[in-house]
Symmetry: C3
């Protein structure tokens, strides 16, 4: 088997994705909030049956361009309808219609969702699941195989709990949450529409211990984890519960895979934390902070609203709101890249022939 | 739902934590090994019913100050009793008693444990668990739902095995271990009082292969994992078994979440490895080594006793006992920060107006 | 319990590993593709019963030397037979025979596999497993306790599915795969002989969202994960499915533990990705690329064939085939270490007494 052999002519393999439609171009334009532009040299538009990337799309597919890196794919695409920014609209082939939008990725998102809506909960508790007699599970919930729901846990309407997930004692989930397979939830209070991908660990003991005469002594971790409305948590991510206050992930924030959040950390609204980043205990992120992949923040610091922490950045002190920092230790983007350039120049001078500029 | 709406007046939400007490101040002083100092302007001390952070504590709560960053919280706290270091004792409000200790975090740990002792094992094997007929499980153990205990595994007295955990063939656990949900244990020998948080993977194949004529060939991994007494392992951490010797985590060592330990690595006693750090195969840590978050150590090196490896450090060669290193490649702390300062200065000089010092 | 108390005289604890043999030296030489050299001062060679590291091996054990760091162990070893490179053959003790090979690690791998062959699948579906009525599971498969096999999933001959693994709806596994405990597979097409270690998450939603008027809006992730033949995936590693194309791991590639692979990434044949490294969305690795531990690659870049990305490297742009890069941002190995040396020298000059060279 090779990638070649398994590639698809379109996308959205029907083994995995159910499909709605077909839709006509104007319905798609309406869903996308985009302007429909007819093809230059074609007649009546067909009904559109699905979505596909530019290189695979056919006349009945909707495709999109969001990244100028891939603009060359426009030349050869057979896509019948292309979602595109105004700047590229004149590059659309003559046989293709366009949905022109100043937010093409958002438009794409909505069109894709129209063709492939989320499956709703299929109410019922799988016969292999173990639900404690004192737990309250709304009758509209879908509880998968081998799920454990502990004593006094509460699960709100239309939640979907994936196979083998553990909803610990007293945990509270509001409506419309989707909890992936193998997720562990303990000591946690979860808002509405929260999504947690497989294998995430939420609410276990934080890393707290004191040095005693006989070795380390564990400090009891007596706080909780609070995930506010619309939070999304990636696969195998770990969020420790607070030690004396709560660990809080603010409404609308999104954490990627393999992220670590230490005890008592507080993330504001709509923060983004990309994969393998780590936020140490008691650190505070104000609203709209972005932490890129593999960045690390020490404990007990504050990151101001809308700050952006670059990939692999090591943050050892507070960051002002709106700042862009990178490097380890963290510094402004401009300073970091200036340092890199200056060091390269100095190193060339030190090691190569200095006068003629040929030193590499 | 917002953090505001879900915050608590005290701590230790009774949905999640059982509580002992109340306790009088002298009993708490005794447990903490601290000196009780009566409040300046109050009468008889109340019985204390719980613990809480300074900002939330009331007159019947015990609180603590361990980090000078939060000393300003003393001004407004209503806590009845505050665990505190001698240096801050005079900052305790007049209405509060104090437990003065030269090790306030340790004292806090013990007071918190007094109010919230660990739940003991509730003996019994859950009816949904699958225990092989040849396994030996002590009758005092608590075996959770959907646990698998493999052939010839041995589980000592008072162990608690969380739901869905897998205790593989031949694995041996000594007394009083606590194994979290979804933990996988194979090819492992585990000491007493070992704690493993949810999702940790212990004993799987190491990353070993040779280049053969047709591609990579897997090298059989024929060692084990040995976790000595009192080891603690974080959530979703991975510890590969040895290839020809054992992978060993020394007594009392603590690993945080998402840590990677390669095959044949040996950690001494009371080592600390913080989240997302990685230790490559066959590397040796002597006793009391600290590896901070996101640090990485290459294979086949030795880290001397009491060395401290800073966050995000990249260690490519041996480190002497007692050394403090940081940076990638690793260097002494002083050298690292000197380099940072010098480069910043050189870069400013290279890019800005040099004479008047105004260059930014 | 200490490491001392639990160490073994040989290796391959029989509680965990079954053993074949004994084998005579010539049979081992044949398996290894190595040349048998008789011991200088010994008589008839014994039958060999197992393998062990040099420091523990006895006269009936086979051992090996692959790393010159450990060459001093040859002096005291009691091993009866030692697999070794020609360069060290004259260091073999007089009482030991040798298997001389120009590829000693590969030779070792084959000898170790001879003594400890992989256990074959023990056909059968565990009575606690839940297999959907529409799934197709070959009768030669071994399906462990509490496994879930979803609707229309297909599992080929001789696959072994570990306890609690989830094979999602429509997922296809070809012959001879070994899926570890607690693995989650969804939206995936898997080749032959693929090995996935415990806790890996394959096929979940990628990290894709657009900024809408009310906050982030999830972009449907409509691609798949394709793992080609002979791929191996480490414990707790996460591979997101594609958004519009597939995420592909090429034939023979090996990923270590805690690795992150973003949506639409394409890895070629025989790539190596070491633990805790991360590859962002839509990035392409050509064949035989190595990514060392904790390295991070941004999205939408291309890494040429046989390039080597160093540990903790931060790759922000394309890398040419065959290049060796390290540092963050990535640069050629030589340049990186030259920069380090030059900065150290400049920093010493700036801070210490410059004239006499004594400045440290």
């Amino acid at each position: 088997m090779t990638a070649q052999q398994t590639s698809l002519s379109g996308t959205a393999d029907p083994r995995f994705f159910t499909r709605s439609g077909p839709f006509d171009a104007q319905a798609l334009a309406d869903a996308a909030g985009a302007t429909l532009v007819q093809p230059k040299n074609a007649g009546v538009l067909p009904a559109f049956t699905g979505i596909a990337p530019l290189q695979n799309a056919g006349p009945n597919d909707v495709s999109f361009l969001d990244n100028r890196r891939y603009a060359h794919l426009l030349e050869k695409t057979q896509a019948g309808l292309i979602i595109i920014a105004p700047a590229f609209a004149d590059k659309v082939p003559a046989h293709s219609a366009a949905l022109v939008s100043s937010a093409p990725y958002l438009a794409w998102s909505r069109v894709a969702r129209l063709f492939h809506p989320k499956d709703p909960a299929a109410p019922g508790i799988h016969p292999t699941a173990y639900v404690d007699a004192t737990a309250q599970v709304d009758s509209s919930c879908e509880i998968g195989p081998f799920v454990v729901v502990g004593p006094h846990a509460e699960i709100g309407p239309r939640c979907i709990i994936g196979s083998h997930a553990v909803i610990g004692q007293g945990v509270q989930l509001a409506a419309d949450c989707r909890i992936g397979s193998h997720v562990t939830l303990s000591h946690a209070v979860i808002g509405e529409r929260v999504i947690i991908l497989p294998g995430a660990r939420i609410g276990q003991d934080g890393f707290g211990f004191a040095v005693g005469p006989q070795g380390f002594e564990t400090v009891p971790q007596l706080g909780r984890v609070v995930l506010e409305h619309d939070v999304e948590i990636g696969a195998n991510t770990t969020i420790d519960r607070g030690s004396v206050t709560d660990t809080v992930i603010g409404a609308g924030s999104r954490l990627d895979n393999l992220v670590q959040i230490g005890h008592n950390a507080k993330l504001g609204r709509c923060c983004i934390v990309v994969s393998q980043a780590g936020i140490s205990g008691s650190t505070v992120l104000e609203d709209f902070v972005t932490v890129a992949a593999q960045a690390g923040l020490i404990g007990h610091i504050r990151i101001g609203a809308k700050a952006r922490i670059g990939a692999q950045c090591g943050v050892m002190s507070d960051v002002e709101g709106g700042a862009d920092v990178i490097g380890s230790p963290a510094m402004p983007f401009r300073e970091f890249f200036r340092n890199v350039a200056v060091l390269r120049k100095l190193a060339k001078k030190a090691s190569g022939p200095a006068e003629d500029g040929s030193g590499k």
